[in-house]
Symmetry: D2
Subunit: 362 residues, 4 copies
């Protein structure tokens, strides 16, 4: 692919649900140096309809065939989690760079296997879609931490609220699908691993579906003893809110106020002699992650495309980050069951190549 | 009144409409070292009802008798403006300290006469109820200006919004009753006189009573060439909002954001797959000046009571400030008519005693 | 004391350290219907100096004599915690209403004994100085909760930060002296008891004194299963910050933003062609609890004075609230040691009179 | 150019100073469907250096040759204003779509001539670079106005602050270079023309270069009687601030708070017993227009590229808007001199074609 720097990157988008369709629109409309060459979905008609609307785009019904296609330079995986493992293995086998929406795979063992296979291949190929790392405010916070603005950071408080979830959502998905972002944010901001997780189960939201443990409170401890807490509440009924505060020895900072246009408006009738009336001030909250993190997704995909075209392939969280997140979430799911803090079980990063070598029998 | 420092100050409250009744409650419930000894109102029954509810309080139907009463140490004037002149003269004649709610009197000539009479009396007796000078944030702003935080301040922007006004309100009252506060704020913050006023008349609020020029925009120029603009809008329908921003050579500041409890709440139904929903954040705006400036009124009256008990009589804006405000507002009313900037006509402060001497024929 | 409604309440202030001296100034300068008749301090010279500056005020060197003094109507206890027990017993014996700054006493057993003795006396006499209940924003939050604005409240997040603590402060004092406010806030907002406490010990602030476990994270569970977390961090070096957020099934709210005057100022030199320069916006944080909760203290003391003068004696948290806070803090101190959640051990409120009866042998 | 929808648009960027260089980087790095095919600058070496860094890009020393070049599909004019007229005429003659950074031309007459020539050409070709129309918050405000959220909007308050300007900046440039943005914002938000302009000259910033009238306050009146005021202050020393507030019969709104990460930090040493310390909260202000309006520029250029590729050529303010802005600014410059309100002199938009016809002699 020596011509990548001049030619447009031909991307296959696998899975065109809410997330995948958003990426198709993004690449087609805003991302420099890339085009959607192939789309795939288990609903093939949907893929064909989308392909028909894009110049030079084909629908391919078999995801593995789409990956293998010689006119596909890179893959964007937005398929359901259970299909990731086989698709990622195919990407590695064909040497195709891939941006994989979370999760890497659906369990720790297969995630580690992917890490190992990529390491064996000798080339970084996999980026995981933890888009918050590309959000302006998270970047600003990370930079301030690294610049020592807060001295040693001791604590972080995270809030992650969704207005509602699909009926299929169960309590462990709150850990694996929502809390996982706070896991990655923690690892990103502090450049260290999470060593234990404790999930607390307050009395559940009466408005949540029966049986759903929502909200959940998670506490992470990191290698160096930092404490992070995270509220995850996915049936708030309100809108989409994400907030992080860090507290250090020299000060603190928070992001996610998300203040845009501020309105003032009446909320009552005039009373008394007509000189008194109730009013409110305020603004809107983003309705979902696509608006809240729209800029982050754009930046993420543009930088990924640039990285692939330049031969670097990855410019952001990689397979290891997907594996680590899976390991932390697995401990979280265990804690959801046990009610106790659970230790995160994961290999040492330095052992990847050793593991790779031993497993591969080389 | 040598015993004032130990005995409670016996205050006569003249006028028990919205403002006066608020002061009665304030003095009775929260002000240290004072009690309401006499109440007066042109609706005498109302005064009697209030007096009946307060230990040791009498209703007196004649305001001048109330002022002259030997068991009244000080007077709080909350009567309609047209009655102020005679009442203030009586206070001066009886040597009674008086806190006079704005306006000092209803025109410039009589205001100047009051200034002169007080000067002739040889004792400061009159404080004018420009309460904003006692508001925490205005105080903070004044201190920052005086400390040179902004270098030379060049500009100020003021906003003054009422939800509604009584039916009797006319266009000139917007100047004399509402804008007058911005006049005093300007004089307070910058310690200099306003030399010209220009009232601009934008197309009127369609929801305002017919014939009312609302909103109005006022521009002040000060002796040293500062420029101040003020939006006065008294039929906003929204609530009570007051805001001031100053801009200087080294920075700027604004007060009046008035942020209290911040709520987040749903403003829409779930859409799509249930993961998206409209929501808002925000808080309440104070419904009227009594809430917005409650702390300022408390501080104003407490400090006035303390000043009177200690023999100083005045601790805040005095008769001169009432006169200067009247002179600026008179220019404002002329500008409302002429559509042009109008020069403020007022004597030099140094001439008070000369004027006093010449007028009094001494 | 049938004349209390007209005569000024004669208050004995015991302890004139930072807090007590602040109360002396408050009662003398701003509280209606009360005066400081007696001051007491273990540093008697200090008490005498203060007394000398106040009309009709005496210094009495023995706190119990001060309580017993016939010219003392009510007592404000701002002495060190270890002396409270004997002083409260004296107040009960003399039937003197008392506002006791936290803690009620220094341990659970003596606190319960005080509750019992007050119950036996047949008259409420003791109010505990949890001033936050009188803060405008906490009041606003409590009202919104009670009005059902948030539906069922499921979670609360609290932050309590001090810039620094005296050298004598140890890890358990963070629980008993600082966290105790979050304990009372929780009980106040939700009208139910805390059943368990878990103190988490993150790696300590490198800038804190050696051996001080700071920050601490506390998790409370309430009778109905609500979850409250509280960050307590007393060596932040920054200023005094207190914040509470509640999260319910219909929305959330937070208080404590504490936005006053907002400034904009330069933080860098001009660069490039002179059209680019770094700047910042922001405001000040209150330096200590006396500024942050000045309004709350004023309201607390005014309402207490009014209550005592009207014969009600208590208008706020009482002895039971002091006992409950002690019981929760005791569990907190145990958890600080054990590293595990600890159950709060306290009697049922309905049993006070039974306990009182059995203990007293009546 | 029938192949535009598939082939990349070949853009000639004329002028590679701060603004032009920013656009080169933007088109090369982030804009979909376009590439910089030609660069030109009066400093030819600079153009060559830039061209050398971009695949398939040439430097052409004559701007008119660059416009005429057959391998140039569209032109981005970032040259100094005095050269615009000839360059725009060349674009019209060659039928090349052009995005022209403000000003359209340097005077009203030549601007009108450009409008006429474009009209005569029968094809819209010219877009003017008023980027604020593409800013998220301005868009949000425009949408709310059009949706009737505020009822009839009566007033707007604008603030435009630069930290510093190049030495060559004179008083009339504040009108033509800075205030012009508020002119366009007014016309954009309210869809009507400005009929008069009054520039007020407060006493100048002592820190500004001698002779520079800075700040300036401008008042616009619109056809329907709306009043808009604008502070323009270009030597604040602080950073880059732009803010707009609109006030209507049903409420108001403001944009430009620009809140990102909020920090809390110490601003003083501990005092007293160590429990009190000064601290501040706040965030950063954007240093210049490139950061403040980065998103707006990206959106503007992407939409322009899309419009040109689809054959529409213009998607934003056009030549008429450039002409109208010039007419308003000319009145502003006259007012700067006269000290009085000046009427905006411009033709009726309906007369463009008549004028075009008569002038062209058809």
């Amino acid at each position: 692919m020596s011509d990548r720097t001049t030619a447009e990157l031909r991307v296959a988008v696998l899975g065109v649900g809410m997330m995948g369709a958003d990426h198709v629109e993004r690449i087609t409309g805003r991302i420099k140096g890339a085009r959607v060459a192939v789309v795939n979905d288990y609903l093939h008609d949907k893929a064909e309809t989308i392909a028909a609307g894009i110049d030079g785009c084909r629908a391919i019904s078999d995801p593995l065939a789409a990956i293998a296609d010689p006119e596909v330079d890179a893959v964007l995986l937005a398929t359901p989690g259970p299909t990731h493992e086989a698709q990622l293995i195919a990407c590695i086998e064909h040497g195709k760079p891939v941006l994989c929406e979370k999760p890497l795979t659906t369990d720790v063992a297969t995630s580690l296997d992917i890490v190992r296979r990529e390491a064996q291949s000798g080339t970084p190929l996999i980026q995981v879609g933890f888009m918050r790392r590309f959000d302006h405010e998270y970047s600003q916070l990370k930079t301030a931490i690294d610049d020592g603005v807060f001295g040693r950071v001791l604590l972080a408080h995270c809030v992650h609220r969704n207005p509602a979830v699909p009926p299929s959502f169960d309590s462990s998905m709150i850990v694996k699908d929502s809390l996982v972002h706070e896991v990655d944010v923690t690892r990103f901001l502090f450049d260290e691993e999470i060593t234990s997780v404790h999930i607390i189960k307050p009395s559940a939201n009466p408005s949540a579906p029966a049986g759903l443990q929502d909200p959940q409170i998670a506490y992470f401890t990191t290698e160096s003893g930092r404490h992070i807490d995270a509220e995850v509440f996915v049936t708030t009924g309100v809108a989409y809110e994400v907030r992080t505060e860090v507290v250090g020895e020299k000060g603190s900072a928070f992001i996610g106020l998300d203040v845009g246009m501020v309105r003032k408006y009446s909320t009552g009738a005039a009373v008394g002699d007509g000189r008194s009336r109730a009013g409110s001030w305020g603004g809107d909250i983003t309705p979902s992650f696509t608006e809240r993190f729209g800029q982050a997704y754009d930046t993420e995909i543009q930088r990924w495309v640039n990285a692939v075209r330049s031969g670097v392939n990855v410019d952001g969280p990689g397979a290891w980050d997907g594996y680590a997140a899976a390991a932390v979430c697995a401990a979280g799911v265990r804690s959801l069951d046990s009610g106790r803090p659970e230790t995160v079980e994961m290999i040492d990063r330095a052992d990847i190549h050793a593991v790779a070598a031993s497993v591969s029998g080389v």
